[in-house]
Amino acid sequence: MVEHTQGIAQQALSLPVLTSRMVWMAWMALAVLLFLVLDLVLGSVNIPLTEVVKILTGQGSENIAWLKIVQNIRVPKAFTAILAGAALSVSGLQMQTLFRNPLAGPSVLGITSGASLGVAILMLGTGHITSSFAIRQLGIGGSWLVILASSTGSAVVMLMVIGLSLRIKDNVILLIMGLMLSNLIIAMVSIWQYFSEPEQIQEYLMWTFGSLGGVSREQLTILSLTILVGIALTFSSSKFLNLLLLGEGYASSMGVNIRYVKLLVIISTSLLAGAITGFCGPIGFIGIAVPHLCRALLNTADHRILIPACCLLGAAVMLLCDIVAQLPGHQGVLPVNAVTAMVGSPVVMWVILRRKNIKSSFS
């Protein structure tokens, strides 16, 4: 009997589960690499792999056009995709844990709308419409300004949602409130749009489709710095997030300062989702879907494993979406938001079908 139980305990904590998780993580990392290469190779112009490798390793290329395309367009875009995928997934993960709600995510609870409002206000002040192209005109200082504005917008909405969550214990009602809040903000931006010039509206619409291509190399540095800080903050609070899996009552009794953790989550979510939204426009569904895929694949709720896994899988999925959005071999480009919705929506449907009682359960 005693030996038997020891066997189970060993099994429960150490090798077999760990290795299968390791294997999955390795697959995810491989997928990121593979899709990264494909993203650089494929597009309206397909560039041979050998040439891409040459350009990346600094040997240059005889084809100046290819050199320009890879260096100035595809590399920044691919890295933006990686950052966006990782950032949105990690912010979705911690929101799902904090609100104990499987359908929570930056796009659902109005965090991305908050970011767009922040950017819109910034643009209103400078007389430009919200667009990645307009952001570009602001230069490096402007990039910080964009991050500040979008993150502040996100943080304000996040605070409002947390305020609502204190009163509303029902997950579904909270989601609806979040959606309404989101609509309200979008409406505010729309009214402002109404008084804008037609070409500006067109730019704004382009922005709402989401675009990974608008980030310059200089901006990429700033964006990656912000995302790194956001992910590091989340990772440092993974112990508290784990305790929150049991609910606030238990977490508090096990030494978690709930206010402090909420503040941490607000800051990191706003940084992650806000910065990405400011630069790439609202990108939906990645934030909801990727954490669920990670949980299902790795069969764990431990944030110390889920956060790196979300980074890897989020990056891989986002790269894949970008590859699809480029329509390899064609001249046209699909809006990336549409592609993420096509990938993400089925996952969300699957989550709802699998857990019939969304009201009381947390994935």
Binding site: T5, I8, S236, G247, M254, N257, A296, N299
Partner: protein, 362 residues
């Protein structure tokens, strides 16, 4: 160490300052809650003490403020006045993480998180002792396995939380409290959603934890029956904002229970320590002879039928084990024999109905 328990004569409360080894004590604690800016006090000037190894059951009618008291003692809710001390330290001066090493909590509602296995839940119990990243040492792992063995959930360690029954899940949460290794464990109606065998199991488990691990345990519950059987001390919340403490038997003998639960049609029976569900009909009396459990169950059956047992009734029921149930009913010089309680009751019932029907037919 002074371990003599003060025999309670209804409201005697041991002096808090006399014992230094108290796990918890309160001074002039006034508790209550605010509802739409109206402050409702549910407990006034409470002085409570709790020692290591003491198993306290907190009882009281609905609305008497059990959960307010639990929340106040656990440091979740601020008292209106007075102080709560955990090991001689004011609970509000103890940092959160330090408090988590002194006091653990088990709540009513089951945790329903998916993709979470039992072992992981138990590791969470070691977090107050772990570094910022929650890394476990070998000693922590041993504590977890030992605790799982002590509470009999070791076969569930590798299972997912949502594969378990409500009772098993609650045992996991209690094991987690044990893993947290605190001198004091507070449980807020942990058995509310459980079936009877699970309730008994949980209460028995807590009893063992108090006895063998020397834990001080406060269990708030509606299970009067179980509480009276297992508690060292009962804290009984009265409707008049006071709280009476004492051994269960003392509270029963002094009639405190009857006062606390006095509601119309709801009687606490001092003889059996249970609530009397069946109220006797007037002028239905019967005499009962017998011994042991046969007597006890026959009495229950007769009371269910509305009889009160008296020594001067005309009808006399005698029961004995011979070798199975054998009951006789002596009525008006006749002797009727029965081999089952049901048959005896049916006979009584039909006789009565004939009696009452007769006048109507005439």
């Amino acid at each position: 160490m002074n371990t003599t328990r003060i025999a309670s004569d209804t409201i005697s409360i041991p002096d808090a300052r006399s014992c230094q080894d108290n796990v918890l004590h309160t001074e002039k604690l006034t508790i209550g809650y605010k509802n739409r800016n109206v402050v409702r006090t549910v407990g006034h000037a409470l002085d409570l003490t709790l020692r290591p190894g003491q198993f306290v059951c907190l009882l009281g009618p609905n609305g008497a403020g059990k959960s307010t008291l639990i929340k106040t003692l656990a440091g979740i809710q601020r008292p209106l006045a007075g102080k709560v001390f955990i090991a001689q330290e004011d609970i509000y001066t103890i940092p959160k993480n330090a408090l988590a090493r002194k006091l653990s909590l088990v709540l009513t509602d089951a945790v329903q998180t998916g993709n979470l296995d039992v072992y992981t839940v138990l590791t969470l119990g070691r977090y107050p002792y772990a570094n910022w990243f929650g890394t476990l040492r070998e000693a922590d792992k041993k504590i977890i396995v030992d605790a799982a063995r002590a509470t009999g959930i070791e076969q569930h360690l590798g299972k997912q939380l949502d594969q378990l029954s409500d009772g098993e899940r609650q045992k996991v949460m209690i094991t987690r409290a044990l893993v947290q290794d605190t001198p004091l464990i507070i449980l807020d109606e942990p058995t509310a959603h459980l079936d009877l065998p699970s309730r008994v199991e949980v209460v028995r488990l807590l009893r063992t934890m108090a006895r063998h691990a020397n834990k001080a345990i406060i269990l708030s519950t509606h299970e009067l029956d179980l509480a009276l059987q297992v508690a060292d001390t009962i804290w009984l919340m009265m409707p008049n904002q006071s709280l009476i403490t004492g051994a269960p038997e003392d509270l029963i003998i002094s009639g405190t229970f009857e006062t606390a639960f006095s509601k119309s049609g709801f009687d606490f029976c001092r003889n059996t320590g249970t609530f009397r569900v069946n109220t006797p009909d007037e002028n239905k009396t019967i005499q009962l002879n017998g011994e042991g459990y046969i007597y006890f169950w026959m009495k229950r059956a007769l009371e269910r039928e509305g009889y009160s047992i008296t020594d001067d009734a005309e009808d006399i029921v005698s029961v004995q084990l011979d070798p199975e149930f054998h009951g006789t009913l002596g009525r008006a010089g006749m002797l009727y024999h029965f081999h089952a309680v049901a048959a005896l009751l049916t006979f009584l019932r039909e006789e009565i109905s004939v009696k009452t029907n007769e006048p109507a037919q005439v």
